[in-house]
Amino acid sequence: MIKTAVIEELKKIVGEGEVLTTKEALKAYSYDGTTNWIREPDVVVFPKNTIQISEILKVANREKVPVTPRGGGTNVSGGSVPWMGGIVLCTTKMNNILKIDKENLTCTVECGVVLQDLNNALLKEGLFFPPDPQSFLGATIGGIIAENAGGPACVKYGVTKQYVLGLEVVLPTGEVVNLGGRTLKNVVGYDLLHLFISSEGTLGVITKAELKLNPLPPSRKTIVAVYDDVTKAGETVFRVLENGVIPGKIELLDNWVINRIEEMMPMGLPRDADAMLLFECDGIDEAVQKETEKVVDISKKYGATDVRVAKDTDEANRYWMARRAGFAAVFGKAKTVLSEDVTVPRGKIPDLIKKSKEIAKKYGLELVMLGHAGDGNLHPSFLTDISNKEHYEKATKAMEEIIYAAVELGGVLSGEHGIGLEKQKFFTRVTDPKVVDLMKKIKALLDPNNIMNPGKIWE
């Protein structure tokens, strides 16, 4: 339990009103985008600037109190849950867009800026920040960088890492450092910038970011391809890419998801289809036209039973709304959802789907498959109920098998959600102990008292 004197000190730093200690408040900051892990902090603070964060960390470091940085709390692997209690450092009040530099296609933002707010501001300038985690309505830039978030658009545009040019970071010992810069190229010294990206809040607090932006593509088209066999859909994905077309997005929805979406909001999706692929081609008109034709041809060639090109933006938006509703559909249907974030080399998507189906069958479970097929990142999910011990254990076991199957296929545990609490036990099992050891040493080097987000990644 944190000392009252420390709380008083925190109040002095950020102001009385920016420190929460009531029971209800602590409860509100005890979980993340899922409710699979719950742990209340001792105190929640809302700093307004970098200096305050530095002061907070100095106090925490002196008192050896854990600090868990938190943005919108939308993450799904437990990263922002204060697993060892202590301070939740909530960045939502540092939400200023400091600069949008149209000429250089960059912007400077504080860590607490919500992605949707940023993209709304960029839209006015004809620009966008491509990484698009599906939690964009609440996710903050700081959290997105800390988790190296991705989304559907990453197949063409890459993940967060590729869009961070510079960071201002407060080290666990309170020093403020600037890493990277404002330019597209920079090879001055070690790449600490990328060490901090995806470090899940364990190496320091990201306070400010310089981001690379893209001009909005002038034109886009949506294509729906319907399959009677989900593995054929999987094959189509890498055949499209192999033929030199990289669509802006390629998403996979299976029969279960299609039907739940239809129940929630009927929009004429093919309810008897085993799976469908949703493509979006973007770029200049001529290129989009040509890519669309290619996607249609290849989809047909590899077994699509029906291929439609959305006639207009309205129709296209309906399909994408359906895709976004996918997760809600899954989470709304069961008390507990076990959803994974495995990524396999794209050519292995059909194998992973086949294998997952076998595993589900073996355990008598209902499997839901959806995800960013374009980069091999799938979110296989089981519907279960944590209070039904027997069923939950079965689901957990089956999911473990899926994870190992993915790793065996040359894949990884997590494409975009991070390790956090959720994947710890797999992480240490599939990662070379020498590598884990090296990471732990880097952690100890930067955070000698282990105050930053302790209990995550490998512990």
Binding site: N104, R182, T183, Y190, S199, T343, R346, V412, D432, I457
Partner: protein, 461 residues
């Protein structure tokens, strides 16, 4: 190095893979720009385990090991500062796998970048990073330096194509980092920590690379401007029109004159700046991009432009740019080359500053480079005389100061090595440097791997 140690090393890598004679060793004492000390031994390992054995020995007997590809670096990264073993990777040069389905390849570090590019091209694939040395530099060296090139505006730098690595740590452990997939967050990003670490944190023994589909066709445009500001406005105009060219090379007035004198292509007189633009993609989109660019050129006061869709003719348009590097030596025998980057919109400010500096110091300063990403190669041409060296030193400081003030960085793609290490603290804060030094010590407690690089001399290891 005593003979027992030399024998041990010969045993590890095989007699035929060790150079002992002074003449031979001397060839490995410099890179494309820097001169260093003659190594005690030059070896050509054939596997990661050989590398590991040698590094363990180095820790035990405390001798430096310097990894080296083709030695085409320009900041002294592959050159020893005090004897030791230079470890050359030209015999680990196999392309192990090209996986067309997953768009990845696995290579050994000694593969020549250009040869790899040609090989993947046969499969309709493309490995974009194209440092000027790509015809002879190795991919291992490119990764260690995080090399860039003309096409990084559209396609990114080497870092963006390295998915995973096999490396040998300075203490001899062999580890694998990263993934074979397009996405992956599995702990700290050691892969990117190693990319660009200039051979000081690990020895790279295998590389997993991302590939992309080869663009079907391209168009090349050579554009002349009277004033550098017009060229810069034109670059911004093109990007604002949502066109991202694969290449946007720039040459300033001094470069244009120098190149035209060496190899005339009929550049109009009074040309103050030149842009070489390439757009790529499928045929329809290349045409569409060109059609959008042409009105912009006219509107932004281009004085003349030439255009081709033919790859052979394109070579002719590249001539001025390709001639330049060599032609600079016609001005003076010694080149002090910098590799600064500024935000794109600040390009004209920097170029004007260089013109003033050149006049003030009365030495030729040429700048050319990658306008799209603001990365400039500034060549200060001097005679090998103390007075000129002094001037060059002064110019470099001034250029770096201005660059940093403009929000830029002192090295975009060449690295720090030995030649820039005295300036690194102009850009990096003390805290950042100390953190980097701590990481170096963590990985390499005995400071045996490529010592004396990156960090300023006053930092002791």
């Amino acid at each position: 190095m005593n003979s027992r140690l030399i024998d041990k090393i010969r045993e590890i890598v095989g007699k035929e893979n060790v150079l002992i004679s002074e003449e031979e060793r001397k060839c490995y004492s410099f890179d494309a720009r820097a001169h260093g000390s003659v190594p005690d031994l030059v070896i050509f390992p054939k596997s990661a385990s050989q590398v590991s054995e040698v590094l363990k020995l180095a820790n035990e007997h405390n001798f430096p090991v310097i990894p080296r590809g083709q030695g085409s670096g320009v900041t002294g990264g592959a050159v020893s500062i005090s004897g030791g073993v230079v470890m050359v990777f030209t015999k680990m040069n196999r392309i192990l796998e090209i996986d067309k389905e997953n768009l990845i390849a696995i290579v050994e570090p000694g593969v020549i970048t250009y040869e790899f590019q040609e090989e993947v091209k046969k499969h309709g694939l493309f490995y974009p990073p194209d440092p000027a040395s790509h015809k002879y530099s190795t991919i291992g060296g490119n990764v260690a330096e995080c090399a860039g090139g003309p096409n990084s505006l559209k396609y990114g730098v080497t870092r963006d194509y390295v998915l995973g690595l096999q490396v040998v740590l300075p203490t001899g452990e062999i580890i694998e980092t990263g993934v074979r997939t397009m996405k992956g967050v599995v702990g700290y990003d050691l892969t990117r920590l190693f990319v660009g670490s200039e051979g000081t944190l690990c020895v790279i023994t295998k590389i997993i690379l991302k590939l992309i589909p080869l663009p079907e066709s391209k168009a090349t445009l050579l554009v002349f401007f009277r004033e550098v500001e017009d060229a810069a406005i034109c670059v911004s105009g093109i990007i604002s029109a949502r066109i991202v060219p694969a290449v946007m090379e720039f040459m300033d007035r001094a470069s244009v004159i120098c190149s035209e004198m060496a190899n005339p292509i009929g550049i109009p007189e009074e040309t103050g700046a030149l842009l070489l633009i390439e757009v790529d993609g499928d045929e329809a989109s290349v045409k569409a991009q060109v059609e959008k660019i042409i009105p912009i050129l006219k509107e932004k006061k281009a004085s003349e432009f030439r255009i081709t869709y033919d790859p052979k003719e394109s070579e002719a348009l590249w001539l001025a740019r390709r001639t330049l590097s060599q032609a600079t030596y016609n001005l003076n025998p010694v080149k002090v080359a910098e590799d600064v980057v500024v935000p794109r919109s600040k390009i004209p400010i920097l170029i004007r500053k260089l013109e003033v500096l050149s006049e003030e110091l009365n030495i030729p300063i040429l700048s050319f480079g990658h306008a799209g990403d603001g990365n400039f190669h500034v060549s200060i041409m001097i005679k090998d005389e103390p007075r000129d060296w002094e001037k060059a030193e002064k110019a470099v400081r001034e250029i770096f100061k201005e660059t940093i003030q403009l929000g830029g960085t002192i090295s975009g793609e060449h690295g720090i090595g030995t030649l820039k290490s005295d300036y690194i603290d102009m850009e990096l804060s003390r805290e950042a440097l100390i953190t980097m030094a701590k990481i170096k010590k963590l990985f390499d407690p005995n400071n045996i791997l490529n010592p004396g690089k990156i960090f300023p001399k006053y930092m002791k290891f």
